[in-house]
């Protein structure tokens, strides 16, 4: 009896140490793996920032300098003076904001009735919206190029905004239909209708204000979609000063052989990324505060 208990205890401790060892090894494995992943995702980001603050002499040195000892904003100065980078940024800001505003305006009206009302053809219309989402951009770009050309809108902001609406509106409609279905209680509209608001009144005065956080979030997503675009703007707005920043970055590529200018190219890359990251941070905070504001009121 006594012997049995002793051996049992022995076996148990042996098992536990074995188990602990396996566990430690797997923890070490997981930590190493995650360190590798973080290095993979973060390192290019570091390399861009580092290079943007180096002098032309440092950036071309062999072997490469990993940790620069003297930083300079020379790259940034050159980036904005060699090419009209500030102007490109403004072009992008304007086109993307206009697209986001128009797309969310059109999409929220459509999404609202698609989510909240039953009417003949609603399912069919929703089907068209989903289907359009799946047509690859490259399949649409050639006929749209001719369409914009026929309208006399090549190399105009309006032409590019129109093309962007082609993919932003279905995207925003889909997102907002989901949003309207999930949020904004129908009782509110019913109350507004009883109080003598028409359908438009109920939508504009009741539904829109309480749905604003969701609409803003979708607006930011459509903004980023246009901001990041290269394909459409390279075709529709490729001339001179009017380029968007993504196409403008190609000015630097044309001299990719010229390593001397890599620091200003990386600086331009940083500049082209900042607005997107700021908006992303805003989106994270805005969503949280929007949701909490809703719950307090509710």
């Amino acid at each position: 009896m006594a012997i049995q208990t002793v051996s049992k205890a022995k076996i148990q401790t042996a098992g536990r140490t074995h188990f602990r060892l396996v566990r430690r090894m797997s923890t070490a494995l997981v930590v190493t793996f995650m360190a590798g992943v973080i290095l993979f995702t973060l390192f290019p980001f570091y390399w861009m920032l580092k290079s943007s603050f180096q002098t032309p002499a440092d950036i071309t040195s062999l072997p490469p300098i990993w940790f620069p000892t003297h930083a300079t904003i020379d790259g940034y100065y050159r980036a904005v003076t060699l090419y009209p980078v500030p102007r490109y940024l403004l072009n992008s800001l304007f086109v993307s904001s206009a697209t986001a505003a128009l797309a969310t305006f059109l999409a929220s009206s459509a999404a609202y009735v698609l989510a909240r009302h039953r009417f003949p053809g609603a399912v069919f219309i929703m089907g068209i919206v989903i289907f359009t989402q799946l047509i690859p951009g490259i399949t649409r770009v050639f006929p749209i190029y001719f369409l914009i050309k026929d309208l006399g809108l090549i190399n105009t902001y309006a032409g590019l905004i129109l093309a962007y609406l082609g993919f932003s509106v279905p995207y925003a409609t889909l997102l907002l239909t989901g949003y309207f279905t999930a949020s904004s209680p129908p009782e509110l509209e019913e109350a507004a209708l009883i109080d003598g608001c028409g359908h438009f009144g109920a939508y504009a005065r009741v539904v829109l204000p309480i749905s604003l956080p969701g609409i803003v979030a979708v607006g930011i997503f459509t903004f980023l979609g246009s901001w990041n675009d290269f394909l459409w703007s390279s075709l529709l707005l490729s001339q001179g000063q009017m380029k968007t920043i993504q196409v403008g970055l190609r000015d630097f590529f044309s001299e990719a052989g010229n390593l001397q200018r890599m620091n200003s190219f990386m600086a331009a890359c940083v500049i082209a990324t900042i607005p997107a990251i700021l908006l992303y941070r805003f989106l994270q905070r805005g969503m949280v505060s929007g949701l909490s504001a809703g719950s307090i009121k509710g």
């Binding site: 793996f33 290019p44 190029y145 359908h199 590529f253 990386m266």
Partner: protein
């Protein structure tokens, strides 16, 4: 009353619908039509745009560069989507555990999400510059390599569609797609109730077994949507390949979308461009069809 309500609905939906049809459906149909015409900008003034039937498609299939681009497109989807889903799922699995610093690590891993594709291409072109590449520097330091890898220009070694530039671009495509996959998978993992894991643990399942016998089957619906979306996006992918190599060297990284773009804007052959882009449409359609069929079967 009902008529008034219908009128309201149609008025609200009309502007968006007009745009979606004019800029979504119409261009698709116009592109299909264009692929059956002779639409060579150089010949339009003298010959117009006569109907030529399937000639453009025949021209494409007889072109070895096209066949290469088609194979590459599919190979990129397999390697990049396979890679990004495997990696993203593993990371999501780790990040959905509770541990200190989880929030920080999540932010760090998701940072590449909002880097515009052109910027991503720019950074990686610079990181792949043979003599000054930090990757070559590390490999040399470890004694693994004696000569620099020419990531984007080496065409010496090939195995079917696989080559060094092919893998280099795949890495960038995985890098830029990873945050989306992690976020998507984490949302899916959260939907699996904790009790299922507890039950599996009680039955003596280890963490590897739990992953294969609990997580993967429970995650299948989410993974199906994710892979469908990634495959559809991957087949029509354009930016990274176009900017980083323009399809070279020797067509090793050429894909259908890049080829279509070059047909149109370097050769003014919009007919061949439209035909190429319709092949992309068909491939996308096949994936969409497979997805819908699978959804119907599961019901």
């Amino acid at each position: 009353m009902t008529r008034q309500r219908y009128l309201f609905c149609y008025l609200m939906v009309a502007p968006a619908l007009v745009l979606v049809v004019a800029l979504g459906l119409y261009p698709m149909l116009a592109s299909i039509r264009m692929s059956f015409l002779q639409y060579d900008l150089m010949l339009i003034p003298t010959q117009g745009t006569p109907f030529v039937g399937l000639r453009n498609y025949q021209t494409l299939l007889a072109n070895p560069n096209f066949v290469q681009a088609l194979v590459n497109t599919l190979a990129f989807v397999l390697v990049a989507v396979g890679g990004v889903v495997t990696l993203g799922l593993l990371v999501a699995q780790i990040l959905s555990r509770e541990f200190r610093g989880r929030g920080t690590i999540r932010t760090l891993v998701l940072i590449s999400w909002f880097i515009p594709p052109v910027v991503a291409a720019g950074i990686w072109i610079w990181m792949f510059q043979p003599e000054r590449s930090p990757i070559n520097e590390i490999l040399r330091g470890l004694g693994l390599m004696h000569s620099d890898i020419r990531f984007l220009t080496n065409s010496d070694w090939t195995l079917g569609p696989l080559s060094i530039p092919f893998f280099a671009i795949s890495v960038v495509r995985i890098w830029s797609g990873l945050p989306f996959v992690i976020t998507f998978s984490m949302a899916g993992l959260q939907s699996i109730p904790g009790e299922v894991y507890e039950a599996a643990e009680m039955d003596g399942a280890g963490s590897v077994q739990r992953f294969f016998y609990v997580t993967l089957p429970m995650l299948r619906p989410v993974l199906t949507v994710l892979i469908t979306l990634l495959a559809i996006g991957g087949i029509g992918h354009f930016e990274l390949n176009y900017i980083m190599t323009g399809g070279g060297p020797k067509g090793l990284t050429n894909i259908l979308a890049v080829m279509a773009y070059q047909f149109a804007y370097s050769q003014y052959r919009f007919d061949l461009a439209a035909a190429t882009s319709n092949i992309i449409l068909v491939l996308t359609g096949i994936i969409g069809f497979l997805y819908v069929r699978q959804q119907i079967r599961e019901r």
